[in-house]
């Protein structure tokens, strides 16, 4: 519990580090949603997504990510607190700001009996700011981008889960966007599809689009994110640049030496101040403040043959477990 409090106070410190006058793509202050059932789905969170960032919005199922996203997009009214998209207050500025925002919220939603293309046309017809003369071309471009052009004339209900997800992405890409809000974009996709979504996100970010991408699967999007925010039980536990994580959690080293050298190697590492556990020729220890290159150097200096050396950065999973004392897969 003390660990958790420490973590959340640091998290708010990091929020304070973001200058308040800086231009953010997404910002919230004390955003809270209490449903009529009394359940507090989102509990006073302060999000800050800098422009140009790929912000990984992580948390187990039921941690409040989707409700937060619904509040950002004006679908759900906050109980208290405020939200800004592209520096415009939501939901008041929705008509002006949402055309610049592409969104995928809690899975794709389309008319099952309309074709993929007809569904895109339907959404485009609803967009008061879209030019109808370019609608067909924009739909083609979006469909091609997600690899659905071949299936554009199939009714939506015949699509596989992955194709449905792609159509949702295509809808978000119908127009050039300054911000993409993608809620669980890799849901239902096979590993190949997941990879493609990662590539797409990277490509969009390189073109200058800010991406807020949520997931309950840590490994999936961790790799593309420049920033991370971790939610649990309605609270934002941690947020900041991707590198913040490296200072969190415990980095370990693993050294493999030749047989017969294990005992002397343990001695050398102890001298360096490491708390070593040995399993045959494999030694592991928490890194602590030691500069990693010193370790093999010291071993070689002592005449020990090193056959393997690895520095293990903390995984998101580890950090999460250390923050909450729970596994990442806990539902509420």
């Amino acid at each position: 519990m003390t660990q958790l409090q420490a973590a959340s106070s640091t998290a708010s410190d990091q929020t304070a580090d973001v200058p308040t006058d800086a231009s953010t793509a997404v910002r919230t202050r004390g955003l809270t949603k209490r449903f009529r059932s009394g359940q507090v789905a989102v509990d006073g969170i302060d999000l800050a997504v800098p422009r140009g960032a790929v912000y990984g919005f992580l948390g187990p199922n039921g941690s409040g990510k989707t409700t937060t996203i619904r509040m950002l997009l004006g679908l759900v009214r906050p109980t208290s607190g405020q939200a800004w998209l592209l520096d415009e207050p939501m939901p008041d500025a929705a008509p002006a700001v949402l055309p610049r925002v592409g969104a995928l919220v809690e899975g794709p939603g389309f008319h099952p009996y309309l074709t993929g293309r007809a569904n895109l046309a339907r959404l485009d017809a609803a967009d008061a700011t879209a030019d109808p003369r370019t609608a067909t071309r924009r739909a083609s471009t979006a469909l091609e981008r997600v690899g659905l052009l071949a299936a554009e004339h199939k009714p939506f209900r015949q699509y596989s889960l992955g194709m449905k997800q792609r159509l949702g992405l295509a809808a978000a890409l119908m127009r050039p966007r300054d911000l993409l809000v993608l809620d669980e974009p890799t849901n239902g996709l096979d590993p190949q599809g997941t990879r493609e979504v990662r590539l797409l996100i990277r490509e969009l970010a390189q073109a200058g689009t800010t991406v807020l991408v949520s997931s309950h699967l840590l490994g999936e999007i961790e790799q593309v994110c420049t920033h991370l925010g971790i939610m649990s039980r309605g609270r934002l536990l941690l947020q900041g640049e991707r590198s913040v994580l490296d200072s969190r959690g415990t980095t370990t080293v693993q050294v493999t030496v030749t047989h017969g050298h294990a005992a002397s190697a343990v001695g050398v590492l102890r001298v360096l101040g490491l708390d070593v556990t040995a399993e045959g020729p494999v030694l592991t220890a928490d890194l602590g403040p030691i500069d990693p290159p010193r370790i093999p150097a010291a071993l070689v200096h002592a005449g020990i043959e090193v056959t393997g050396f690895e520095v293990r950065r903390p995984s998101l999973e580890q950090v999460f477990v250390e923050l909450t004392g729970e596994g990442f897969d806990v539902a509420r």
């Binding site: 619904r70 997009l73 004006g74 679908l75 759900v76 009214r77 929705a94 008509p95 949402l98 055309p99 925002v101 969104a103 919220v105 809690e106 899975g107 794709p108 939603g109 389309f110 008319h111 099952p112 009996y113 309309l114 046309a121 339907r122 959404l123 017809a125 609803a126 967009d127 008061a128 700011t129 879209a130 030019d131 109808p132 003369r133 370019t134 809808a171």
Partner: protein
């Protein structure tokens, strides 16, 4: 890009969405089946009356029914009369109950709202869509009734309920007035269905509730002790279309019937609006 993206005007963007909505409503197979089903009523009724006209069965049933064999125009009136208690409310219930709840159930509501479409505009587009479908339902009965009636029995000068006869053109105009009045009589139910549709994510629930309202209203209308409230009931004035078949239609009766519909539209339209523009969309 050489082609400058032009932002359409408010009106043209409204009509773009309205056209899309009408295509959605009128292009949907379920809705087309409904329209075809309603169109079968005058056809079947006409055929039944045609083949029984020289038997002992002829001349039985309500007044409009017995006149059909004498004048095909009355097939329109008789068909509308037969569809009013249940088939038309069912059709209206399906069209209006599906309006918002159907989008919520398909998951398309959240995407429409984040496009973004203003909630008031979306509700208006949905209301117009449901009203157009209601009009199409009445029109399909009327058109098939007219064609079948003319083909089976021919059309001639119209003998009114009073026994007076008016020329064919004037008679046809009166039948058209009957159809328009029936169409307008359904607007209150459309508003009720639209309101139910904003309450739920389960379209079938909204549809059923709408049909139940029409049926309950019809039942309450038959209970003598409820005399005081009956003039305000949704269905109380539905059969007043018969006014157009009197020599001197009572405009106060017709106006009263339409005023009751207008009141239901105003009340349930306002309820639907206040609900839909403030509701959390969690579907």
């Amino acid at each position: 890009m050489s082609l400058v993206e032009a932002v359409p005007s408010r009106a043209s963007s409204y009509w773009r969405l309205q056209r899309s909505e009408l295509r959605l409503v009128l292009g949907r197979r379920r809705n087309l089946v409904l329209l075809v089903g309603l169109a079968l009523v005058p056809l079947l009724l006409g055929l039944v009356l045609f083949f029984t006209q020289d038997t002992a069965l002829s001349g039985q049933g309500p007044a409009f029914l017995s006149r059909v064999t004498g004048n095909g125009l009355f097939l329109v009136v008789a068909s509308v009369f037969l569809c009013l208690p249940f088939l038309l409310p069912l059709t209206i219930g399906i069209a209006s109950g599906d309006a918002i709840a159907g989008e919520a159930a398909a998951g398309t509501l959240r995407y429409l709202l984040t496009v973004p479409v203003g909630r008031s505009r979306l509700l208006l587009v949905k209301a117009v869509g449901a009203l157009v479908f209601a009009a199409a339902a009445v029109a399909s009965i009327a058109v098939v009734g007219l064609v079948a009636g003319a083909a089976l029995f021919g059309v001639r000068d119209v003998t009114l309920l009073s026994g007076d006869t008016v020329p064919l053109a004037a008679g046809a105009l009166r039948v058209l007035a009957v159809v328009v009045y029936v169409g307008l009589s359904l607007t209150g139910l459309v508003a009720v269905g639209l309101f139910f549709s904003t309450l739920t994510e389960v379209p079938v629930g909204a549809m059923a509730a709408t049909v139940v309202v029409a049926i309950v209203s019809g039942v309450l209308d038959t209970i003598p002790s409820l005399h005081a409230i009956q003039p305000g009931l949704l269905t109380h004035h539905w059969l007043d279309f018969a006014e157009f078949l009197r020599l001197e239609p009572s405009w106060s009766v017709i106006g009263g019937g339409l005023a009751v519909q207008a009141a239901w539209v105003a009340i349930f339209g306002a309820l639907a609006w206040s609900r839909f523009t403030t509701a959390d969309v969690t579907s």
